[in-house]
Symmetry: C2
Subunit: 267 residues, 2 copies
């Protein structure tokens, strides 16, 4: 029963994760002009795609390796290698996603790391780097003592879930920020208002090309991107649910659960 | 030992939670013109303060009631009442925070619920309302069977933590959004550029009074508000850590932990 629910959750997770990536690709391709690697805004478009793919979807999938019933029997090392390798790929995608936004900023003379989105995002990536390196040194390399491993395991597990939460929060603030960049905040003022305001020294004028509609009028791109954000949230919550559900955790030696007989059936 | 660490965590949580509220109040009072209840932008200023106080700090504190060692002995009902009452106060603060932003929008002819921040925020508040009502009906009123309570308890606990994560993500995207509203996105263009751009039909002109600096130049308000966001994240993560740490959970009947003797000492 628990096993069936677990595989159903995996199916939902796979669908949600694919939709998160596909929706982000579609948003960037259809409404934001597609992809390039030339420092332009089309290079920026890799940023949301790679962050959603790396820091959320692949990271989430890599976190769940030890929840697979197959990982409960036999040697643990291959599963540790898979867990570390998937997280490493997620980290590489994340770094490439950061290169995309930094090169776009350099190319367009935009300051780096000023918004709360960027502060939270870079904190999350640094935590991810620390988590991967410490995990590799303590849990994969053979020289850490069992005592040290049991001491650090709950911290590793907690930060694993915490980094996913921070990634989702970074993605949400990033999508929100991108939509405020892409659309105007208010409806365009009339020509008279423009001329009057130009004489007012307290007015600031900002130009946004191709921003024909305000975000508040919810054009189709805004609805689509908002839905993409909610999909990312749903994926993140489901990963956390599967991670935290006690009946899906690797059992301690000597404890039987209702999922173990299924494993032996398949062996 | 575990008890000492728990109280140390409570001390850090109390300090972090107070700082989250005080920083938000100071931001609104010092840089955004203070508070009023008149539909103006000063009425909006209640929104961040009440959401941080209600949906994050008081919600987090209310979630931790069953981690207090005092709650492990004697009748559970007074602790249930405290848990429900604190969450109810958190919910009331949240609703007043929503009234503040809705009335400001009505007064200034701004559309409601268009940004991803608002979609996520309202989803979180609806989940909170469902969580409180179901919790009240199932765990506080006397008619639910033990079977139903044990079936729903893990779901109640999971959604308790999930709502806190969503609240923190909503607050982060909200602070980010507020800073993009408060500051300009780029430096003001020169007069020639303004005149040239006015003739370009693809240009949109937006006016923002009192927005004298771009967010990217990180004026002191932006640094302060970004730090407030990171404080909220730190508070949320610490609440989740205390919630999930197995040695601080209410022990099952018959299981002793190293914290229980301390309780009996104080009885």
């Amino acid at each position: 029963m628990a096993s069936g629910q677990f595989y159903l959750s995996c199916l939902v997770l796979g669908s949600l994760g694919s939709m998160c990536i596909l929706f982000t690709v579609y948003w960037m391709q259809y409404w934001r002009g597609g992809f390039a690697w030339d420092g332009s805004v089309h290079m920026f478009n890799w940023h949301p795609v790679l962050m959603v793919s790396g820091m959320v979807v692949l990271y989430g999938a890599a976190s769940l390796v030890y929840r697979l019933p197959q990982s409960w029997v036999g040697p643990k090392l291959p599963w540790k290698l898979l867990h570390a390798a998937l997280h490493l790929i997620a980290f590489i995608l994340t770094v490439v996603g950061l290169v995309a936004v930094f090169q776009f900023h350099n190319h367009s003379n935009i300051a780096h790391l000023y918004s709360l989105h960027s502060w939270l995002g870079i904190t999350t990536v640094i935590l991810f780097a620390c988590q991967w390196s410490l995990g590799f040194a303590i849990f994969l390399l053979p020289w850490a003592s069992l005592w040290l491993r049991s001491l650090l395991k709950p911290i590793h597990v907690f930060f694993g879930a915490a980094i996913l939460c921070l990634s989702v929060a970074s993605v949400i603030s990033g999508i929100n920020e991108k939509l405020f960049f892409s659309f105007s905040i208010k409806s365009p003022p009339g020509q008279n208002q423009v001329e009057k305001s130009l004489k007012d020294p307290h007015c600031l004028v900002i130009f946004r090309k191709n921003a024909t509609k305000p975000y508040a009028s919810l054009p189709s791109e805004a609805v689509f991107a908002n839905c993409t954000g909610l999909l990312v949230v749903a994926f993140g919550l489901l990963v956390l649910y599967v991670l935290l559900a006690s009946s899906w955790k690797r059992p301690e030696p000597g404890i039987l659960t209702d999922r173990q007989p299924l494993l032996h059936d398949g062996e």
